[in-house]
Amino acid sequence: MPSKTLPDRVIEGYLFDDVKVLNTQIPRERKTLEKLLGEDNPHVVCMDGTPHHFRKRELEVLSQITTDDERHTLLLPILMEVTSDRADIIIRTRSGTEAKIFSAVLDMPVTCKDNKITIFRPQLSVVRKKLKTTTQYVFFT
């Protein structure tokens, strides 16, 4: 019997006023890595109603980095918050699994503090090269 999943507070934090209107690319509901690996056509539906498909190869790479438990908690796509006043990118996490993934992708230690991971803009291109479909931008002020 599947366990009840916790609500996705990260997405809820982006669904208000003009942030919601200007970020139609964020998904209505994120899915766990475990669920996406089992799908024949892994995808999520965005706020504008369009589908966003995941590359199976990327999902396999993520499954190799994570443990069984982490696959049940890791929600995809990973949302990267881009703020104009800051030079860094924030990734809000609830389990810290994203820090492990980013450490593996960037090949350097990445820490999680107060459920937030910080990476810098030059590192963004490295992350996006390897995780094109499993990461998504959120524009915030």
Binding site: D18, L22, N23, T24, Q25, N41, H43, C46, T50, P51, H52, H53, R55, K56, R57, V82, T83, S84, D85, L124, S125, R128, K129, K132, T133, Q136, Y137, F139, F140, T141
Partner: protein, 216 residues
């Protein structure tokens, strides 16, 4: 270009409305600028990938044609053509869409293709040279599909960057300066009105005092 003052009603409510609009426009302009920088980053990355894949495709084509020439020399043109006509290969391409900062781009994923099967039963008419040639051709096909995705993405990103750049420039150089100038104009007008009111009241007070003095 100097910003134009656009005032419909010089009232305090209008000033409050314009200040709210200015705040919203500034906020949106920051987000649009961020989006533009992200799109440009993605565009440049796609350009690099595209160039690398094109180079790889060219070298793969060269290898494939070389192998085909060798196979043609080994088997002869007619048996080779017969073998190529009868060979089968199942290749499964899954297509989808991915969303990058609001730009919808195609996604092609090639499933593991089965090896080429030849319906020709005579083993004398096939060889490892031919198998090698077909394997290289299969790789070329996979690279072509990958390149198709990248080139399409490049075009879509380019179009979106043009659109977003125009919106950003309109906000930064026309809308926000226009609002700034109008807010400044209205603020100065209200200050002037207040000063006139103060001097008018002083004059009225003076008149009342004079009247009272005459009455005594």
């Amino acid at each position: 270009m100097a910003a134009k003052v656009e005032v419909t009603r010089p009232t305090k409510m209008e000033l409050a409305r314009l200040k709210r609009r200015h705040k919203l426009a500034t906020r949106i302009q920051k987000i649009v600028k961020d989006r533009l920088s992200i799109l440009i980053m993605e565009f440049l990355q796609t350009v690099k990938e595209c160039a690398a894949v094109k180079e790889r495709l060219l070298s793969e084509f060269q290898e494939a044609f070389k192998a085909l020439s060798i196979a043609s020399g080994y088997h002869g043109t007619v048996p080779l053509e017969k073998e190529l006509l009868t060979a089968e290969m199942a290749i499964r391409v899954t297509s989808g869409m991915r969303n990058v900062a609001g730009v919808r781009m195609p996604l092609f994923e090639i499933e593991q293709a089965e090896p080429v099967r030849s319906v020709v039963k005579d083993p004398a008419e096939t060889s490892s040279v031919l198998d090698h040639s077909t394997e290289l051709s299969r790789k070329c096909l996979e690279t072509i599909i990958e390149l198709a995705e990248l080139e399409n993405s490049l075009e879509l990103l380019g179009r979106e960057i043009n659109k977003v750049k125009r919106v950003n420039n309109a906000l930064e150089y026309i809308v926000i300066p226009g609002l700034d100038v109008t807010i400044k104009y209205l603020t100065m007008k209200f200050e002037e009105r207040d000063r006139e009111e103060v001097s008018r009241l002083k004059y009225v007070k003076l008149l009342i005092e004079k009247k009272e003095a005459y009455a005594f």
